[in-house]
């Protein structure tokens, strides 16, 4: 571990040389920025002095588009495209908000199917986060195993709703259609198959000495800073804050299942370092499996389209509903003027708030650690920019 040189460098003739900070652009085409994010690094030699994220390359006017839809249902394919690696949870948030606005109760079976889908999606999303984080650090192999397992989840989604990435499955008041009869045995099979793989993944990556050395004590995010910046999800829990909307602001039927909220404890270094954020994701996958297994056991029979409204015309009013997406608190604020078109929709995306803290946690880090820090935030630029 080299010490930071504090004396100014001198030339061969003994004259003091002038040094200055350098600006380095990381991205938008940098493979480790997980999309089109440009980080402007101000560096003093190898030390990062300041980080300025430049976003907006993927801006698609989601909120403005929604105002020009002919009905509420049409917004759902657009929410899919915000966080494109966790589309199910995006839809989930929107339908929960719209249903609260309409004051409709959806059948029990629909709630169960939604929870199963959302938790499968959480696993799929965390698998991408963990796999690509491995690549950032320099471990390519775990990525392939993560994608192998994610593919199994996408197969389940495909047989249910016909798409592998952008599902358009959860509709306001119900689902586009019921799960096929062989879904439940296949999902159980997946749970049994996946449980040993989490352990294998942890052995391969999480507890690997090289990986620990690269991530422990790097990018430490103290709990109060995380709260002040509005971080949520694994970012916040990694800093040791016990906060999960599924438990603390229950929506749908999450209060029916037994599961634990995982928080970072600083096992390998400091609480809130990159390793803690990583382990929270890895442990959350186990908890999701627990939820899915319980839901598959308890799922009742019923009609999933019984509550689908013919015309969606909410009374004038407004609603804010939030859910726990794989990245944190995903909220939708809907204002209705009584017509069939939403008057205004605002999406509160977790990745945007999580990204805002990057400047705070990377000051004083090495350039090589920047990649580890940016990867541990697990941003999806589709959601940051919307």
């Amino acid at each position: 571990m080299s010490e930071i040189v504090t004396t100014p460098p001198t030339s061969s003739t003994g004259r003091t040389l002038r040094t200055e900070e350098m600006i380095l652009n990381m991205g938008p085409q940098h493979p480790a920025t997980h999309g089109v994010l440009r980080l402007e690094l101000v560096v003093d030699g190898e030390i990062v002095v300041d980080v300025i994220p430049h976003i907006g390359y993927l801006h698609r006017c989601f909120e403005k588009h929604c105002e020009h839809m002919t009905n509420y249902q049409q917004v759902i394919p657009y929410t899919d495209r915000m966080d494109y690696v966790a589309s199910m949870t995006n839809e989930f948030g929107f339908v929960v908000a719209a249903e609260r606005l309409l004051k409709i109760q959806v059948p029990e079976r629909v709630e169960y199917i939604r929870v199963i889908m959302a938790e499968l999606q959480r696993i799929a999303s965390h698998l991408i986060a963990i796999g690509t984080y491995g690549i950032d650090i320099g471990a390519f192999t775990p990525f392939l195993y993560c994608f192998r397992d994610r593919e199994k989840i996408l197969d389940l989604f495909e047989m249910t709703c016909g798409a592998r990435l952008l599902y358009n499955y959860m509709w306001v008041g119900g689902l586009s259609h019921d799960i096929p009869p062989d879904f439940i045995p296949k999902a159980k099979e997946f749970c049994a198959y996946f449980k040993p793989n989490i352990k294998e993944l942890n052995d391969l990556l999480t507890y690997n000495e090289i990986f620990v050395k690269r991530t422990a004590n790097v990018g430490v995010l103290p709990a109060d800073v995380a709260i002040n910046y509005g971080c949520s999800g694994p970012m916040l829990r990694g800093s040791g804050v016990d906060w999960d909307l599924r438990r603390d602001d229950p929506y749908s039927i999450y209060n029916k299942f037994a599961w634990d909220v995982c928080v970072g404890k600083g096992e390998m270094g400091t609480v809130g370092d990159c390793w803690d954020r990583h382990i929270v994701r890895a442990r959350e996958m186990e908890q999701s499996i627990r939820i899915i297994e319980q839901a598959l056991e308890q799922i009742p029979e019923g009609n999933v389209q019984a509550a689908l409204p013919k015309r969606i015309r909410p009374n004038p009013g407004e609603v804010y509903a939030r859910i726990e997406s794989p990245r944190g608190e995903l909220g939708y604020y809907i204002v209705s003027d009584g017509s069939a078109t939403p008057y205004r929709i605002k999406a509160r995306s977790p990745a945007f708030s999580n990204l805002s803290v990057i400047n705070e946690i990377s000051k004083g880090a090495m350039i090589a650690d920047m990649v580890a820090i940016a990867g541990s935030i697990d941003i999806v630029l589709g959601e940051v920019d919307r």
Partner: protein, 167 residues
């Protein structure tokens, strides 16, 4: 990183043997070698093709029955399309259905494969097919007119059966 609220614990420097990380690399290689004898989970794409299930939403097509398309040019699909991809122009016909689409065009660059057109159509005339190989070299090629959209009913029978069972 070096804020006062957190303390950085640096473990002591590693010895040369530790710095080579040999046990860790061996552990990783063990899995890799085991995997070499496990069945492969990839598909050799152009040679082996993926067979989509009946629920799959490929490109939308117009169903042709007894030599004419079922569509009655009501325009519901173009109204419901969130991506504004469909253009329908109605014309009159001698047949029983009275109206037919004189022009029916889907812009495949715009289409987002949401399936709303299929859901809303009163005649089961527009159906999401199983075709997924859609690549164009020119934007003009992506405007699918009736010549490309109309397919005989036999080709989409699995999807029609799926819809009957699930709607």
């Amino acid at each position: 990183m070096n804020s006062e609220r957190s303390t950085i614990i640096r473990k002591k420097d590693l010895s040369l043997w530790e710095r080579m990380y040999i046990p860790e690399i061996v552990k990783g290689m063990k899995l890799t070698i085991r995997q070499m004898f496990a069945p492969t989970f990839t598909t050799q794409y152009p040679d082996e093709r993926f067979q989509p299930p009946a629920s799959f939403r490929g490109r939308p097509v117009l169903v042709e029955e007894n030599g004419v398309e079922r569509c009655v040019a009501c325009g519901l699909c173009s109204r419901v399309c969130p991506a504004l991809a469909i253009e329908v122009q109605a014309g009159e016909t001698e047949l029983g259905k009275e109206r037919y689409p004189e022009k029916f065009e889907i812009n495949m660059i715009r289409c987002i494969f949401c399936g709303f057109c299929e859901e809303v159509c009163p005649e089961e005339a527009i159906i999401m097919s199983q075709e997924y190989e859609l690549a164009f070299t020119k934007p003009q090629d992506a405007l699918f007119g009736k010549d490309k959209l109309v397919v005989p009913i036999e080709k989409v029978q699995t999807r029609l059966n799926f819809l009957r069972a699930n709607r």
